[in-house]
Amino acid sequence: MPRILILAGLGLVLLSLPLWGSGYQQRSVVEFLYFLSLAMAWNLLAGYAGLVSIGQQAFVGIGAYALVVLAEDLGLNPFLTLPLAAAVAALAALPASWLLFRLQGAYFAVATWVIAEVLRLAANASIDWLGGGRGRAVRSLGGFERGLREDITFYAALALAAVAVAGAVWLLRSCTGLGLMAIRDSEPGAQAVGVETTRTKRRVYLFAAAITGAAGALIYITQINVRPDAAFSVNWAAYVIFIVVIGGIGTIEGPIIGTLIFLALREALSGLEGWSMLIFGAIAIAMMLFAPRGIWGLVTERWNIALFPIRRQMPARFIEKETT
């Protein structure tokens, strides 16, 4: 099973990285891992459930502020707030879904953004509690020795990404995944064969919110200062969409490749502030026009490979040879 070997080898390299890697490498991998988690979550929504959100920054921000409130106001260990941030984000996603699921397609997309915008403004307006526009810092992180803090951050990021990828694979292989594929092919058709489309979509939406919320908390563990305009910035959505579009929507491998490309490109374009966002936008447009299945789609067109097989094989007896 070469695939298992590759994955195990990769896992081992990652797990041991703090032993041999430099601080810069470690921080870069953390960044890779949280972008991967964000991308995985968005990909589940858009690529599998047909829910094109441009407002996932709402949950990045919720996760970030959950970190601040739980660690600073309630005195919890900042790293222990990660699962709680996930729970808070999922909890917030529930009422949001009641509202959003009344809307179709592109309207859903803009409405997710409006909700994120409302949260950004609300955080800006909450001056006494959340520090208004200047935000708040996670001071309790200062209690950790720097090396230790970076190591825990690294393993937390690794755990988050593992949960995001494994969760996505598991969700897609479960009944929910089957239902999702039916919905993606034809929503009325899926309903007709008894898929509870709304419940299936809601499950995915909450899962994506939880992953995004935990990623938000993790991101602000590395950045320490939480400001509303940054935490609720639509740029989070832009980065994530770019990652998934370039890697390949609706695949597990796509976001991995996309995150690597995104980080490399951002590195190459660093210092060209405006140009980099312009180029990201232009690449996303070009990909949608000329390679809508992304780089991974181009790869699988040529070679028939899959790192994470989620497609079910059709039993041979159902594949009938065409007779003339």
Binding site: V52, L99, A111, V114, V118, A238, G274
Partner: protein, 290 residues
């Protein structure tokens, strides 16, 4: 008197928002898709007006002579050369492409013009006012804007109702496959619709650029306001745009009067309230269905 002038300014602000929503409503009504670069195209039009006024020495309102056809062509090309290619793949490609375009426009403007806030000057028109009652003065520019909205809405009504191409618009919006059987090229109709929307965007960009200053990154908030107008007014309903704009303007102005930092927030909350109570808006699909 304070109450009255607050209400009046809300209504007048609503005129700007109605104009903002009109272009978006038109494209949604015909193509059933939201152009996420809508707000950025409005800002682009403001910047283009600035460039035209500076280069040709025209005033902003006169610059529309140049701007309207240019923006029409831009819209036609955007739909005809780009968006029409992904029509058959559902709404996701169009959403992502226009989202990408938003970032291209924002950062292109940033590089082309700088991050400074700009403003369009039409003599003293922006500051001119008419005193209706003692203590109640209304700006001339908001009145012009309100007039422009009403004129554009009436024009669109006439177009849709009484011209062959207008009927072709409605037929294509109803059923593009059958429209094609009538000899209508749906892709051409879509491109015309986007061109028309962008021509309206040109007017919007000039009037909004005269009302307040603008910068390269103002597009997203304009898109959100435009979106809220059509959510409140009812999706695809051209007449609903007027009421949607007024309600958004009023709720912002009232919220802002209670607490200046609530200005935008109350507008968003009004939209979400409409979504909860009447998800199809206050006037679901009226005009182009009449």
């Amino acid at each position: 008197m304070i109450v009255l002038s607050t209400l009046v300014s809300g209504v007048l602000l609503g005129g700007f928002y109605a104009l903002l929503g009109l272009g978006l409503s038109l494209t949604f009504g015909i193509m059933r898709t939201v152009n996420l670069a809508h707000g950025d195209l409005v800002v682009l039009a403001s910047f283009l007006a600035l460039a035209v006024t500076q280069m040709l020495g025209l005033s902003p309102l006169v610059s529309l002579i140049v701007l309207v056809p240019v923006m029409f062509g831009l819209g036609y090309a955007l739909q005809g050369l780009v968006l029409n290619r992904v029509l058959k793949d559902g709404m996701m490609p169009a959403v992502i492409i226009t989202f990408g375009l938003a970032f291209v426009i924002q950062n292109g403007l940033l590089m082309g013009f700088s991050a400074d806030r700009m403003v369009l000057r039409q003599g003293t028109l922006e500051t001119a006012g008419v005193t209706l009652l003692p203590g109640l003065t209304v700006g001339v520019l908001p009145l012009i804007t309100l007039g422009a909205v009403l004129a554009l809405m009436a024009g669109l009504q006439l177009l849709f109702r009484y011209t062959l191409i207008g009927r072709a618009f409605r037929a294509t919006s109803d059923d593009p496959q059958i429209a094609a059987l009538m000899g209508i090229d749906p892709k051409h109709v879509y491109a015309l619709a986007m061109g028309l929307a962008c021509a309206i965007i040109a007017v919007t960009g000039v009037l909004m650029g005269m009302r307040s200053n603008f910068s390269a990154f103002d597009g997203p908030i304009r898109l959100i306001f435009a979106f809220e107008v059509i959510i409140i007014g009812g999706m695809g309903s051209l007449n609903g745009v007027l009421v949607g704009g007024m309600i958004l303007g009023l709720s912002q102005v009232i919220g802002g009067a209670l607490n200046p930092s609530w200005f935008q927030l109350t507008g968003h909350l009004a939209t979400l309230a409409v979504l909860i109570v009447r998800p199809s808006g206050l006037f679901p699909e009226t005009i182009d269905r009449s």
